[in-house]
């Protein structure tokens, strides 16, 4: 197994590579890093050239110089694939990695092998009334905050008090932890990729945990309905990280799915 860095359009990217055979690229979720895939990486590297990277702003890769959109991440991944000679790899994508993958497969079908989308984001989940109210309050508060900061400098202590007391109750964990990537996160979560799904030509295996609260099973069902050649496998008892919650079964599903395409 080798770990190295590459400069992709001025952003330093860390990646890991092991194994020989058909190529598999692993794209992690928001706030994660390539090590999240460790058990899967080990299992796949027995029969495949397996490559994982820290997406920009994650793990040990550099933060993008300005706020990015999903298409910027896609451009970065495509450039990375070119540099590492990954012509048409199979892809395992988790959560946010799923957004990049859906766009890649829909817009560049010649670059996408088989897709294993697990707890993938991109389809807005149905929100409970409570979540909708919370989101609306958060969004309104954000607008008010921007207004106050630009037009009413004297309100700064009030804004700071709001950030300390109310923001943790209104904002998501990802938003709170995003740091320099906050603007990027807003760009990403507001992009609905549903329209891209029918254009995905690659065979797709969708693996979902029935206890997933971040990207509920309903998102997986929508993807299974809209991606032409897809199959949904539900892992009982697994949450948002099925490849860790039920690593044995997940690894076998991945090995089997990619072997069929080699």
């Amino acid at each position: 197994m080798s770990t190295d860095f590459l400069d992709i359009n001025g952003v330093r990217i860390r990646y890991q590579e092991a194994g020989q055979g058909g190529e598999v690229l692993l794209l992690h979720g928001w706030g994660a890093r390539l090590e999240t895939f460790h058990p899967l990486f080990q299992a796949l590297s027995h029969g495949f050239r397996t490559v994982a990277l820290d997406l920009p702003g994650h793990g040990e890769s550099a933060v993008p110089p300005e706020p990015w959109h999903v298409s910027d991440f896609l451009g970065c991944v495509l450039a990375f694939m070119d540099r590492r000679n990954l012509e048409k790899p199979h892809i395992v994508a988790h959560s946010f990695g799923g957004r990049i993958t859906i766009k890649l497969a829909a817009l560049h079908p010649e670059r996408a092998g088989r897709l294993l989308l697990t707890a993938a984001a991109g389809v807005p989940p149905r929100q409970s009334l409570r979540t909708r109210i919370r989101r609306m309050a958060g969004s309104t508060a954000g607008k008010l905050q921007r207004f106050a900061r630009t037009r009413l400098p004297a309100s700064e202590p009030l804004v700071r008090a709001f950030n300390a007391r109310l923001l943790p109750r209104l904002a998501s964990r990802d938003y709170l932890n995003a740091g320099a990537m906050r603007e990027t996160l807003i760009h990403i979560v507001t992009e609905d990729l549903t329209a891209h799904l029918p254009r995905v030509q690659s065979p797709a295996l969708l693996v979902w945990g029935d206890q997933d609260r971040d990207t509920p099973l309903e998102c997986g069902r929508t993807m299974a309905r809209l991606i032409p050649e897809s199959e949904l496998v539900v892992l009982e008892g697994a949450g948002h990280f099925p490849f860790l919650d039920q690593a044995n079964k997940f690894n076998l599903l991945a090995q089997r799915f990619f072997s069929e395409g080699s």
Binding site: A43, H46, G47, G237, Q246, N248, K249, L252, R256, S259
Partner: protein, 396 residues
């Protein structure tokens, strides 16, 4: 073709109860991925059988005070030796009542994933034979011999395979004349010697003895687990090399070299290493978590020799399905000895097959199909004659 149902049996009355729970969950994962329908059958430490989908959940077994009969979708069952029944049936003391919905208990194949006593030693296989059900893995004789390290050596010797000499003593003999056994051992082998129970797996009660006092002490310990204990010379600076075989037809996997601190691979080294600790502090990956080098760095010539001996050992005791054969490679890197065979190896040695290019779901499929084939081949065997000797030889 309709999906076949596989009953996976695990747990059992054995010191390797927890190892079996882990191995079985790995096997059930693989069977599901291979497309089989599962019927989990958990045998608790008291020997009671429970069946139901609710038993397929590894996490619940690490909860202190776990009781299988408290699990939702778990039913007390048993397997009758009556060939006309040929399936699991509800236990007479099982849950009953107006609203009780009996579960689906049919299984096309039985897949025991039990290690050690009452599961790997031929006794359970005997029940399968009586019930007339197809089952995966070795049969009665091979399972029994696979658990008997003393008998194994005789068969390996007869097949021309190299083994270390040994002396053994029964519990009765030991309690009558312990000194006699010690003298016999000391006359044949210099210290250190290895003491082990004849029929236990997972290196339980295996010890290295440096003198007569230690020998007596460790024989006493081993006698608590078995009624026959053996002693054999301890190799110095040896390496352990393992190889798995499936069949028939026989195929050998790549070899592994377990990497451990010290000279003996102990129960702790086998099951308590690794990062994720679950059941009673064991690694959730079972044998798959052990530190090992795959393929074993022993060169192509020695690898081919190990693989050939492994296949011969598999055939010598008439194994079926899968086995892992453990070898000792002496410090001269030339002398190789067959140490023992495991007819139901931990994690089914899937990590060796994965490295050999056979996925775990393909491995379990091979075992299920092998079980069905063997059952079909046995069908024409006649066990009775159509004559009633009690009525003067007239047809019965």
């Amino acid at each position: 073709m309709p999906k076949q149902t596989v009953a996976v049996l695990f747990g059992g009355r054995s010191v390797e109860h927890e190892v079996s729970i882990i191995s079985a969950h790995q096997v059930m994962d693989a069977l599901e991925v291979a497309g089989y329908t599962l019927l989990p059958v958990f045998i608790d430490k008291a020997g009671a059988w429970h069946a139901g989908r609710g038993l397929y959940n590894l996490r619940q077994y690490s909860v202190p005070g776990f009781r299988a009969d408290a699990v939702r979708d778990s039913h007390r069952v048993s397997l009758s030796p009556d060939t006309s029944i040929r399936q699991l049936v509800l236990h007479p003391f099982g849950a009953k009542g107006f609203f009780y919905r009996p579960p689906e208990l049919w299984a096309d194949v039985f897949f025991p994933v039990l290690h050690g006593t009452f599961g790997e030693d031929g006794r359970l296989q005997g029940l399968f034979e009586l019930a007339g059900v197809p089952y995966a893995g070795s049969g009665v004789e091979a399972s029994a011999i696979g658990m008997d390290k003393i008998k194994q050596k005789d068969l390996y010797r007869a097949a021309g395979l190299p083994v270390l000499d040994c002396e053994w003593v029964s519990r009765q003999e030991w309690s009558r004349a312990a000194g006699e056994f010690t003298r016999k051992v000391e006359a044949r082998f210099p210290y250190p010697v290895i003491v082990k129970p004849s029929s236990l797996g997972s290196s339980i009660a295996v010890a290295r003895c440096l003198n007569g006092t230690e020998l007596a002490q460790h024989v006493n310990v081993a006698m608590q687990f078995d009624d026959r204990v053996m002693a054999e010379p301890a190799l110095v600076n040896f390496k352990e090399v393992n190889c798995s075989v499936t069949g028939p037809p026989c195929e050998a996997s790549v070899c592994e070299m377990p990497s451990v601190d010290g000279e003996l691979l102990t129960f702790d080294a086998k099951y308590k290493t690794g990062s994720k600790k679950g059941i009673t502090g064991m690694s959730k990956s079972g044998m798959a978590s052990l530190n090992r080098i795959i393929p074993a760095p022993i060169g192509p010539v020695m690898t081919a020799r190990v693989q050939e001996y492994a296949k011969q050992a598999f055939q010598a005791i008439g194994c079926h399905g899968i086995a892992r054969i453990d070898f000792l490679l002496a410090s001269d890197h030339e002398s190789l000895y067959v140490n023992e065979i495991n007819t139901m190896p931990g994690s089914l040695s899937f990590y060796l097959w994965e490295a050999s290019g056979l996925r775990f779901d393909q491995l379990v499929t091979r075992m299920v199909e092998g079980a069905i084939d063997r059952h079909k081949q046995k069908a024409p065997t006649q066990f009775t004659v159509d004559v009633n000797l009690l009525s003067g030889g007239k047809p019965s």
